[in-house]
Every structure is written in C-alpha cells, then in structure tokens.
Symmetry: C2
Subunit: 337 residues, 2 copies
C-alpha cells in the first residue's frame, strides 16, 4: 500500500470505501452508492438519530492513535448515544474531511476500524461523504437506531427517590488520556494497567446491550451516557428531570487502572472517575421498586456491571457525600469543546 | 453581538443553537437536548438517509460567503439528495467544527440560515454536535427522509429508450463561482446577471417538490442530483442502470446568466452547463410512455421546468450530439473533492 489521499479522486475513494464496507444487513434496502440510503424502519418503533464527530488535535492526535482506533471511536461514541436511549442500531453514515497528506493505508485502516465495530453491533455503514480538508482530519458519524416509543430512555424521566446506577468502571479512560498527554508512550514497555487505561481511552465499548436490556425490561426511567463525565451526566440528568441528587463518592466504581496511574501522574483517582468523559459508560435513574429488575437486566446483557452510586432528590442541587460531609457538586464535567 | 466562539463553552453554545432551532414538527417526538433525537417514521415508508458536508476553503470561503448562506447551503445540498430519491424530508442533524475565532454573530447567522430552509422544507433540526476546529469551519449535515418503498427513485432504474430530463437551468452556479474566483465582487455595482449567478452558487434551491411529485406519480424510473455536474450525473446514472446515453447539446437549458457571463469570463457557456456541479438540479430517466405524466408532475410541483436533453441507449457509451457530430462524453464532471 502506498500513496496518500492526494493521489486518488473522490469517486475512486468512494469505491475504495464501498469495497471495505462489508455486506449490508437485511434492513438496508439500498446502501452506499446512490444519492441517499434506504433503510427499513422497525414497525411500531421510533427512529433514533444522533451525530458526533472526532476532530484531529481536539479529540485525538494522529501520532498517538492508530487510524483503526479513530474509526472505531468515531462510531463508538455515537453508539453510546443510542445505548443511552435504550435503542438498537440500524445504520450509520460517515463524513470524512481528509487532509491530502493522509496515507491511503490510514484511510483504509480508519474505515476498517469503523466497519469492524459496525459489523459487531449490527450498524452497517450505508452512506456519508468524503471531502478534502485543508486542516485537520474530521470524522463525523451519524447513527440511526430504533426504539419502542414507550421504552425510550430520555434524560427527563427521573423522579425524586430514584436510585442512580452507573455501569462499568470509571476514570480509566481519562487516566489513559493523561498518560498520553504526559509524553510519548512506550507501548512495549508500559505496565498492563497503563495499556488498559490507554485502550479504554482509544477504543471505548458502547454499552448497547445494557442500555437496550434496561429499556426493554422497563427497568429504568431515564438514562444518559457519560461522554461529559459522571459529574456532567448527573447535572444534566437532574436538570432534565427537574430533580436534585446526592452521590456517595465512596461508592464510585473507580477503575483500578485509574487508581494505579493516579499515583504515577499525581492525580486524584476519584476526580478522574468523577470528571472523565471518555469512559462512555451509562448513568441510569431506577425506581426503587425496579431495582431488582434493573440489576437482572444488566446481568442478562452480559456486558458489564452496574453500581448504585446515589439517588435523585426533591431539591435542585446535586450534592456529594464524602465521609461525614455533604458538598455541592461543582460541575467539573469534562466537556469536549 | 460581540465575542467569538472562544468566549462560550460547548453547553452555552448548544443552548444558543437550541433557542434558534425553532419549534419542532409534530413528527419530532424528541428534539435537541438529549443523547439522541426521536422521530416518528411514516407508516409503510422507508427511512432515507444522506450526509454531505461543506468544508471552508474547499467548498466556500468565509470572506466571500455570508454565514447565513453557508448554513442554507449545508442543508440544501442534503435536501437535494432527498429530492433525487423522490423522498420527503423528516429531520436533519448538524455537526459543526468551529474555529475559535468565528464571531458568535456568524454562528447565529449560520444556524438561522439553516433553520430558515429547514422550516420551509419541513426538515426540523433535531440534533447534531458542536466541536472546536483547529483549522477550517466544517458544516456536516445529515438528513433523514421518507419515501414509499415502491416509489423511491434510485440511480439504477433507467432502461434503454428512456428519455433523459433535466430540471431548471444549468451553468449559472458555476459561472457565479468562477466570477467569485476571478476577484473581489462589488455586489452593489455588479450586473443583475452576475448577482443571479452568484446567488445560484451560494443559495441553491433543492428540487424537493419536483422529485417527490415525479416519484409519487411513478412518472420517472430513475433520478440523480447534479452535484457532480450534468456530465458526471449522466455517467453515474447510466453506469448504475447498465445503459449508455446520447445527449443533444443544443437542447441543454443553459442559464442566461451563464451565457451572459461566459463572454466576460472567457468561458464556454455549454461547458459551464455540462460540468457545473453547483446548480443542484435533478436528472430523470423517464419511460417514453410516461412522458406526459412526468411533464404534468413537474408542472404540478410548481417549482421549476424540466427539459428533455437526450435518451438512454442500449450501449455503454455516453455520446454527445453536437450538430452533425457524435462525440464520446469525457467525464468533465466537476467533483467536489
């Protein structure tokens, strides 16, 4: 493989992408190659739409992150939005703004990274756009999904008294990012914890089965993904639901990799867990009487754990219990902008 | 209004966008502000998806084009893809990569330009993403539409013997672009033809009603939009349909503005009409027995005219009749890449 984006014209590049996009799913009536794609809706369900983009030197650096991982993450962050609605993926579109010095092998690898995750999650690539960029590489993905009208998990459904559950482990991805920012990483010589944290940052796993399982069992009332960090997610979930919340910091499921790296990096592991927006876990509001159903739904999904970290309250403030103290949560949520 | 993008954080910018996005349509169950949008599908119809982006210094220059026009065009080029499928718009998403020196007033105007067209075409803005750009402004739009399964106009439906019809007038937008490229335009002092050509380039009108009307009356067998120019569109339509074509150059509906400017700019008006990819008109393949139905459908749409410019043939080659001569069409189609 040789050459850069500059050596091929747009149509050749589209053909190249098309050849790598894999077999379309049965739901795809018409995929890449026409003015638009045609997708079969699911009878009785709503169409779910979300878009999210990765911008070079804002969300990733080409010298740190392999092209395949950029492709994976560009789709993963969108699938996380579907997961937070309890929706199932149906199709995705990819718009790329490509620097002309991008090696064709990187173009191929980026597509392959996206398509590999698309194949595993039932979210075929059905269209998009290729353009030249005079600056950064921009990968913008739109996902279309499907969810039953009465099962969709919005942010606004929470009620005072609902338990707050978070999936997985927190802080690992931000620890990985901080490690990358601290200097060149020797991947051969790095500790397993360091590699685990960096991989959590580079190739997040959207919690699709967990979100869908909780939604289908009507085991949660509201959900949001942690793309802005747990602090940001709690703030937005409570604002949308018109509630407050109280969080038990001691209950946070801090990623062992974050604990391990916090010392090395001179950081606070709990703060990594509270503000790390890159874990792409989910936060759920669960009515107390559905606690058992929710925990069973998460278990049935077989994807990750869920930890009760607090509850929604009648006030408007979000407070944090730290030992004997109650403190107001200042919004330290990591925002991508 | 003062300040630039650098002076506000992402959430404030989202609120700003949300406030300008207008009232959601009845089909929008959940719009901007959650992890994803929820849209009601049309019973018995397919979901139509397309994405297209405008990149600063590739597709537009900020010093030439008003921010409102960039917003308009970012949506218009996508609606043109829906028009070419015979589809109706349902919703759109906007992903912006924003240079931090962008004035907030330009941000507002861009959103307003998009929302204004969205309102007029029944295509509410339901979501998207805002990110910082270390380089160009990138506006990537995804549209979701709806079309009856047996009415969708793909590129592959043409048959030998079908008439080829093109909508509107051709070459005006490319003449306008060439004029902008020739040097600073004095909009006060410019001729009406010059202004008309530049406006055709800056604020194209998607032929939504025409595409939908032709599709609903089953009056065309295939369609494509002219985003790559007529030459490119004929090439792609015939390739997808497995046919050839013969075009009558004398029949091309050349835009009077292109004729007028061609002399001034030292260009060939017919070549402008053949290669201008910025008119965003539509090309249809119409079975001869549906000619009258097609012309009636275009008339009923009340949007523009359609001109018969040739027909599909059994061979694979695309030929151009110029007076007594038949020449092979070389693909001079304007590609955006």
């Amino acid at each position: 493989l040789s050459g850069t984006i500059a050596t091929v014209d747009e149509r050749a590049l589209v053909r190249r992408l098309h050849a790598r996009a894999g077999r379309p799913a049965a739901a795809v009536v018409l995929g890449i190659g026409d003015d638009a794609a045609l997708v079969e809706p699911v009878r009785g369900e709503l169409v779910v739409l979300a878009a999210d983009s990765l911008v070079e030197d804002v969300h990733f650096r080409r010298r740190w992150t392999a092209a395949a991982d950029i492709g994976h993450k560009a789709l993963a962050v969108n699938l996380s939005d579907l997961a937070a609605m309890g929706a199932s993926p149906r199709a995705c579109l990819l718009s790329l703004a490509l620097p002309i010095d991008l090696p064709l092998s990187d173009f191929d690898a980026l597509i392959d990274g996206l398509v590999s995750l698309a194949d595993r999650t039932g979210c075929p690539l059905v269209g998009g756009n290729l353009a030249r960029s005079p600056g950064p590489l921009v990968a913008d993905v739109t996902v279309a999904g499907s969810v039953h009208r009465r099962r969709a998990l919005t942010r606004a459904g929470g009620r005072p008294g609902d338990d707050l559950y978070v999936t997985g482990l927190l802080g690992g991805a931000l620890a990985g990012l901080r490690l990358l920012q601290a200097g060149p990483l020797d991947r051969e010589g790095a500790s397993p914890e360091a590699i685990a944290a960096v991989r959590r940052y580079e190739v997040p796993t959207p919690r699709l089965r967990t979100g869908r399982s909780a939604a289908r069992q009507a085991a949660a009332r509201a959900a949001i993904d942690l793309s802005d960090g747990l602090a940001g997610a709690v703030t937005q979930l409570t604002e949308a639901s018109g509630t407050g919340a109280i969080l038990d910091l001691a209950a946070l499921p801090v990623d062992p990799a974050a604990l391990d790296l916090a010392g090395t990096l001179g950081l606070d592991a709990v703060e990594l867990a509270l503000t790390g927006g890159e874990d792409y876990e989910l936060l759920f509001a669960v009515p107390p009487r559905r606690r058992r159903a929710f925990e069973a739904a998460v278990k049935r999904a077989g994807e990750t754990t869920a930890t009760r970290i607090g509850r929604m309250t009648a006030g408007k403030s979000v407070r944090v219990a730290t030992g004997d103290m109650l403190e107001l949560l200042t919004n330290k949520g990591f925002t991508h902008f």
